[in-house]
Every structure is written in C-alpha cells, then in structure tokens.
Amino acid sequence: MAQNSLVAIVNIKHKQMFELYGILKQVQNPYRPDNPYIRFGNTAHFVRLMIVPGKNEDTVIYAGEDQDRGQEDRHHRLAFWGVFDGTVEAFINDIVTLSPDMDAIWSKCEGYNGNLLQFLTDDKHRVKENIFYSTFPDDTVATLNEKRDLRQKIEAILDKSPDNAAALKEIKKLNKISFNKTYPMRKNLTFAAIGALLLGVLILCFVFPLTILVVGGAIGFLYLLLAQPYKESNAPFAGQTGALEDELASIETKALVAMDVNRVETMRLYSRENVIAQNQFNLYLTFKTDNRWLRVLRMRVIMFYIGLAGKYLLPPGSLGGLSTVHFGVWALIDDNRRLLFMTCYDGTWENYIADFVNHIHPILDIELHNFVGFSPYGTRDIASFRRWLRRVQIQSSVFYSGYPDLTVRNMSRDDRMNDGFPSGMFSGNAESWLERF
C-alpha cells in the first residue's frame, strides 16, 4: 500500500486563534490519545497541526524576520500535514469516523462546511508538495509496528533461552513479516535510466555536435546557479563573527527584550522536543526579495535533485548518510514567496542540526542562502544558524506518531532482523543472525 502525504493550510477565523490554540493544546504534542477532539486511524504514520502566525498579531517566533508579507498573511493560519498509507479519502474518513469532536478544531477555520475531505483537499487549501521524502517508502504503519513486535517477541525468547538451538526452536514458531520491497529494483532501474540518458546525450553529441554546446551551457548554468551561494557562505573562517554579532545585538535594549522573549519560546520548544523517540521540525521561510525568480529557480533545482535521490537512489533508512529522518516535505507556498519545510526525525534538535550541518552543509548553504535572515556566513556559523532556525521554526501544536517508540535506526535494524528471519541472511547462517540482537 503506497504511502501518501497531505499538506493543507487554512485561514483561522478572525479572533479565533487563541481559542483554537487552547483546543490544540489539549490534543497535545506529543499527541494525547484520550483527548476529546481528534483521533487518527491506524494507517496514519505522522500527523501534525500547527498555527502559522499572521501579520496583525505577530508573535516573537519570527519577530523582525519577515520583510515580505502579502494581504493574506494578515490571517493566522492552521497548517496540517499527514503521512498515511492508502488513499486520502480513507485517511480522512478515519479521522471523521473516529474523532469525538473534530469540528471544534475545523470550525475555527474559514470556509469549513462540515466536509473535512472537501475542505482539506480544496485547491485553495491543499498545498502541492514539491518533494515528499520517506525513508521507508515500502513500509506501512502496520509492517513497522509488526516488525517491532516481532523483535520484542524474539528478545523475550532470547532472555529465556539457554543456547542458540533452544532460541531458534522457539523463534521458528513465529512468522516473518512479509511485504513488497521495491528499493533494489528502483535503484537498478534508476541507474539504467541515467545510463540510457547519458548514452542518448552522447549519441546526440556525435550526431549533432551543437548538442555539446547545449549540454555544456546547461551544466554551466547549473554551476553558476548553485556555486555562487555556496561560495558566499563558505568564505574561509568567516563564520565566527556571526555569533559575536548576534551577541552584540542583544546589547541593544529592544533586541535584548526580543531575545529574552525568544529565549522563553526556545526553552518552551526545547522542553517539548525529544519527549518521544521522534521529534518534529517545521520551517516557514521567506525568500529574499532581490532576484526572487532566480532564488525560486535555484530552490526548484535543489528540490528536484533531493526528490530524485530520495525517491530512486538513496537506500531505505538513510538520507545522504543521515539515519534520523523519517519523512520530509518541501513545498513552495504563497505564490512562491515562501517555502514550508516539515520533517519528522529522531533524537534531539541539537543533534539533528549538527547532523545536518556535518553531512549536507553544502546543500543547506545553497538552499538556505535564499531566505531572509539566514547567516551570511552559512551553516558553518553554527551558533548563528541555530539561533536563526529557532527564530523561523514553528512548533507543531499537535504531533501524532503511529509508532512513537521507533527511531529510523531501530527500524533499519528491525528490517534487517526480519530479512534474516528465521535462519539468517546477514552472512548466511543463524548464528550471525542471532549475534545482531
């Protein structure tokens, strides 16, 4: 069953924001299953709801950050992101059927007429994702949970077993979790397609030499498009002053107050994060106004690359070496004036940012350089980068997980355990399979 994603942003009715916030607070992050408002079905991987603050009642979350807001930004907005197995219809139907009083939430939003499916999938509200990344695209909520349950059963057997033979005898009574794995085939097909494309271009170059100019021009354009922000963000040792300047800014009274309030917000975020194994992160970024078309184009190229790699090349459980990201979504919104980035990941926020910087800082630099407030010194100026992220981050009010105890690394291990079930495929024998527990 295919995984799907639904992103929607809706306007909150005038003066209803605080009431809605109060309701969402009862649903909670992490999600409280006994809340009196909303429930999610067993096909939901992750669901989040967050309030995107509007212009008229700016909050400190990004005070002073945003230079370019249109009329529609006067509204506070409610953003919704769900990742689920199967169809949107079935996913929404579960919410409608199971929720005790979900209208308490949606009735605070403009245009809701009691039909949630229609409301969230309406062109005015549904946001088309530019990329949807899933680290285990072949898994369903059920298979992930079943593999975890299988592992726990085996662990219980191992705790009581005197030796390998006794353990295996019991383990073989259990059933392997079966599902269709498409990754190896996808990867091979992709490589074949890339090979065919290159071959085609090569042939074209031979047949029509002018093609070389076209190809060369395209490569040159891409280089210019991507290299400049990277260079700008990576002037040698440029980073250190960013942190100092940030500190210095705090000396001015106004900034001091803002920083302190911001700090309260930061600590609030901090205390909510990493409560379960997973965490959530949302960025609401505004493109710089100068040469915006170029910045949007650059972003599209990067997203195309990430989308291609994520969908067809990267192995399950690893996003460019990062084994902490479950899902991610990138979407250009508000007539391409902003980017909404949302992700589910494991571990601490601090760890996540450091991981990102360590593993993919060139991509981050090229990407984030296009947005208002990003440190001119790039992600290597980690102190400023962190502070900026905290400022442009929006916390989910509601964060639901279909498997709150599982990390990506856990899932990878569970998957390899399941692959080898029951007689061992790690190196072909049961002994080495058992060694991995």
């Binding site: 002037a235 100092l244 210095l248 070496g321």
Partner: protein, 558 residues
C-alpha cells in the same frame, strides 16, 4: 556581498600566562584537592582579596616552568558571582545562555537526568534554593596539592586565613565559605567502583607541546614512528576548550564580550559594525573556559550487588571473574583501565602496568572500534568487546556512530564525536577505606569481586556520607559539549540504534514505568541482556562555572 575573512587568533606561547593551568593540566602529581565555594559578603574587600588571589593562580606557564608545583590554585565564578562582583550588565548578557540559566534550570535538569532524588533541589552544592540567600555560591577556589599536609598549609596561609567561616561576621577578605568540598585521587587512579579513571582526555591543539615533553614517540602497529595519541584519538581544536580560538566547526566559540573598556588588557574583537555608543568590543572570554561541576555519589554496594545478582542469574554463580567481566562490559574498560575494544577476551594487566609505569595513557587510549582492513587487529563493530551501550562507547563513540560508518577513514568517522568532547578533571570523595576488599568476607558483605582493590593506606578524606567523585568538565560550549553528551548519548535509550539501553554507569537509568537494560553482544550467539539496570550514580551537587583568563579575572577584581 561576500563576507570578508577575519583573522582567527591562534594559541601561542605568550598566552600561557593568561590561561589557568586547570584547563590544560590534570595535575596528576597533585592528588589532594579542596574546593571552596565562597559567598561574596563585601564586594570591595572581595575584589581586593581576589586581586591577591589572582597573583597566586597556577597558570599554564607556571606549571610548564616546573617552579613550585606542590600546590596549584585556580579560580572560577558562578553567574551569580559575576553579578555580585558587578561585572557590567552588557557583559553578563553575552555569556552563554546555559551558564546564565544555571545547571539547575528545570528543562536542563530533565535533559541531564537530574531528577527524583538527584534533582537540584536536593543538592549539597549548587542548590538552586540557596540562590538569593546568604548561602549563594559566587566564587569557587580549586586547590590541588601534593600532600594532605600541603593542602592544610595552604589553608593556613594569610590569604586563606582571611576567608570567613560563615556569614556571622564580616571577614577581612569579604568572602566566606558556604561549601567546603575535599577529595583526592588514589595512587591507583581508581574511581570508587574500582575502575582506573582519568584515562581518556582529549589533546588540545597548540598545547600539545606542553604535555608532550612527558610523552614518547613510539612505533605503531605498522612499524611506523608516531607520536602517541595522534592516530585514533587525535588532537582537538583549541577552541573546544579555550575561548577565543578556532573550534571543531572552524569557528570561534561564542565568548562573552566587554564594551568600551579599551584598557582592560583584553584582546579586541574585530567587528564590521558597532552599535551606537559602543567604541570598542573586547573578548572577555579569551583564554577562559566554561567548567561544569558535578558532585556524584556512587553506590558501590548496589553496583557490585547488581553484578553479583546478574552473574548468578546468567551463569549460575557469583564468580568474581564473571562479576568483574560484567562490570567491565558496563564501563567498556577492564578495571585496570585497558579498553575492551583492545582486549576483548581478557584483561591485559601488563599493558595497564606499562601505561602507569611509562605515564602514558595513550597506550590504553589509542584505539578505535571499526576494522580498518586486513592489518588491523581491532574489529569491534558489533560490540563483542566493548558493547555499544557501555559507558565509554556512548560518551566518546570515536568512529562508531552509525551515521558516520559509511565514511572511509577514522578522522572522518570520528568528526561528530570530536565535536562533543570535554576535558575531564575528577577526584574521588568520601571514605573508601572501608572497602578493604582483601578481607575474606568482602564478597559476602559488599559484593565486589576480589580483584577490585582500593588503596588500603590511602586517606580518602573524612566524609562518612557516601562516596563518589567530584567531576569537572572543561568545555567552551556547555550546550554542545557537556549537555549534548548527557542528553543525546548518556541518557538516550535508543543511542546509535540500540534499544532500551541507557548509560549503565552515568545514565538516569530505569524508572518503574520505563525499565532500561544493558545489552552485551556475544560472538557466536545471542546477546546477554541485563534487566532493569538501577541508577548507581546519584547527583549531589552541580554548577556551571566560568573560569576566566587572568586578564579577565583582573578586570573582575578591579
């Protein structure tokens, strides 16, 4: 606009007179320690006293010159202390947030695992309930001495005689003692559980030649001559431990600033633009560092009783060797200090002895986990030697973090680990003399295996109330270093892909609703799993301190 590169200061020899020795040196030859937590009663007098004290401080240069190395004095201050000593408000605000908030801040305490009976409100030292009272701690004087007598002589010196005993009278020094902690390092260098301690500390870049005079150039396993300590446990950038220099991100660590004081004797910070009314910005933190203090109590009885119970459950008897092996699996090193990655099957006492005799910890600290190829004798990817969940593999994972496994060489794989190092300084406290494990009934009474020996004749102090260590962690970024290690590695049940394991030594361990295990992988068969590992180490005190450079200290005392 491309930002202009700026000059990054590099630690040079002329700075050694400005850096306190405690940051760079472990003072291994000064095993007796006393930590005076002082309250400032009279600011003017206290500043005068602090000026006198500053002249006596052991700097890196003093220690290196090997003159008068019997006693080392160092000083650090709390955030409340800086406020009390009237450091300008603008400067106070530029200190790291975690330092301003304090180690006891509610969210922080949760992340550090300082909960329940280890929560800050119960602490003997640094208790937040004392903030704003006459028992608020402002200045910490750290005294290390060669003998206990020298420690006492120091306390009898005029400078220390001026310190008041309590708040009842105004002392000549303007400060009085609110907390007096003592400790010492036994000759065996073993911490209270019986494991050799103080082995794994990073090498600070540009200070290496200070310590290398006591080191050797040796042949590595390929027969190539190398400076020991460089290969697997490389030099860490200066800025990770000393403010004002480049750190592992290639940046200057965030440092407190001083405004409009061009004659404070501090280096100026180059900035492209200055706020209105600001003429000069000086680096107040230069050559200083942040120091994390933790008073930890170790429940030796519980630790060895647990190992005995597990040995009985898993192997049908409390064999001392098996108990010792289980304890070593939890730590990741044998009691001798030899790492299990180097000696997976049995301890290597000869190697341990050589490390002591040659005063060369690198012999037992120069290792990695992931096999490098056919010539590499180490192969501990699966944790058959040193378990993934063990104390040392969590707190300094070296090349074994899953996300870095795909990289080709040790420096690349260790990059993330290098960004979260701390310089550890610790001494034992409490009366350990009761633990004369050579007594025949020791196993029955205390549960420790026979080979766990403490120095019978060593005077461990007079504190009858438990035993443990005073831990000091030197780092330039408390959040990224100390707090990260505690939160993301020590207390994370799912660290590096494992399940339901916390650090069995330092972690905040099982709660009734959330039991944690210790998984011990075994070659050829399935793992052993120690169930419901209890909390063996309890927190009895803590503080985030700032250890200034000498110039900054003189400014504070002005």
């Amino acid at each position: 606009m491309i930002p202009q590169p700026r000059t990054v200061p590099e630690l040079t020899n002329d700075q050694w007179t400005d850096i306190q020795g405690f940051i760079v040196y472990g003072y291994g030859i000064l095993p007796y320690a006393r930590y005076l937590f002082l309250h400032v009663q009279d600011v003017t007098r206290a500043k005068a006293w602090l000026r006198e004290l500053t002249d006596e401080i052991m700097t890196v240069q003093h220690w290196y010159d090997r003159v008068d190395r019997d006693v080392a004095l160092n000083v650090a201050v709390t955030y409340q202390g800086l406020k009390k000593l009237q450091v300008p408000l603008a400067t106070l605000e530029t200190f790291a947030r975690e330092f301003i908030d304090g180690i006891y801040e509610e969210t922080r305490a949760q992340l550090l695992g300082d909960t329940g009976e280890s929560s800050p409100e119960t602490w003997q030292v640094g208790n937040p309930l004392k903030i704003g009272t006459e028992a608020e701690e402002h200045i910490v004087v750290l005294i290390n001495a060669k003998t206990k007598a020298l420690l006492e002589t120091t306390m009898d010196s005029p400078l220390f005689k001026e310190i008041g005993a309590d708040s009842s009278v105004t002392s000549a020094s303007g400060v009085y003692i609110v907390n007096d902690q003592t400790g010492s390092t036994p000759e065996s260098k073993k911490e209270p559980f019986g494991f050799r301690d103080g082995i794994s500390n990073p090498w600070i870049a540009n200070t290496r030649d200070l310590v290398l005079d006591q080191r050797q150039i040796v042949k590595n396993r390929n027969g190539k001559q190398v400076v020991i300590g460089l290969e697997d446990d490389p030099v860490i950038k200066t800025g990770e431990f000393i403010l004002g220099y480049e750190d592992e991100y290639g940046q200057l660590a965030s440092s407190p600033l001083l405004l409009n004081e061009p004659h404070a004797g501090l280096p100026e910070v180059e900035l492209p633009t200055l706020p209105p009314d600001v003429n000069t910005v000086m680096d107040f933190g230069r050559n200083g560092s942040y120091v994390v203090y933790r008073k930890l109590e170790q429940d030796i009885d519980a630790f060895w009783k647990y190992m005995r119970d597990q040995a009985e459950t898993l192997y049908g008897g409390a064999d001392p060797d098996r108990m010792s092996w289980l304890g070593a699996k939890c730590v990741g090193r044998w009691t001798s200090g030899v790492p299990m990655a180097l000696a997976p099957d049995k301890d290597d006492p000869e190697l341990a002895k050589r490390a002591i005799d040659e005063r060369n910890n690198s012999l037992i600290n120069n290792f990695h986990y992931i096999n490098q190829g056919a010539d590499d004798k180490i192969d501990d990817e699966l944790g058959f030697g040193c378990p993934w969940g063990s104390h040392i593999r969590r707190n300094h994972p070296r090349d074994s973090l899953i996300d870095s496994m795909h990289l080709t060489d040790i420096p690349a794989r260790s990059a993330s680990s290098r960004q979260h190092r701390i310089m550890r300084r610790s001494v034992s406290w409490g009366k350990l003399a009761d633990y004369q494990v050579h007594e025949p009934d020791f196993i029955e009474n205390k549960g420790a295996p026979l080979e766990i020996t403490f120095d019978k004749d060593h005077d461990y102090g007079s504190d009858e109330e438990g035993r443990g260590i005073h831990f000091f962690g030197v780092n330039s970024n408390i959040q990224r270093q100390f707090e990260f290690i505690m939160h993301a590695w020590t207390n994370d049940e799912r660290f590096n892909g494992i399940y339901d394991n916390k650090d069995p030594i330092l972690g905040d361990a099982s709660t009734p609703t959330d039991p944690t295990h210790m998984t011990i992988p075994e070659k050829g068969t399935f793992r052993k799993r120690l169930p419901e590992v209890p909390r063996f180490v309890h927190v009895r005190g803590g503080a985030y301190l700032f250890m200034p450079g000498i110039a900054a200290l003189r400014f504070i005392a002005k």
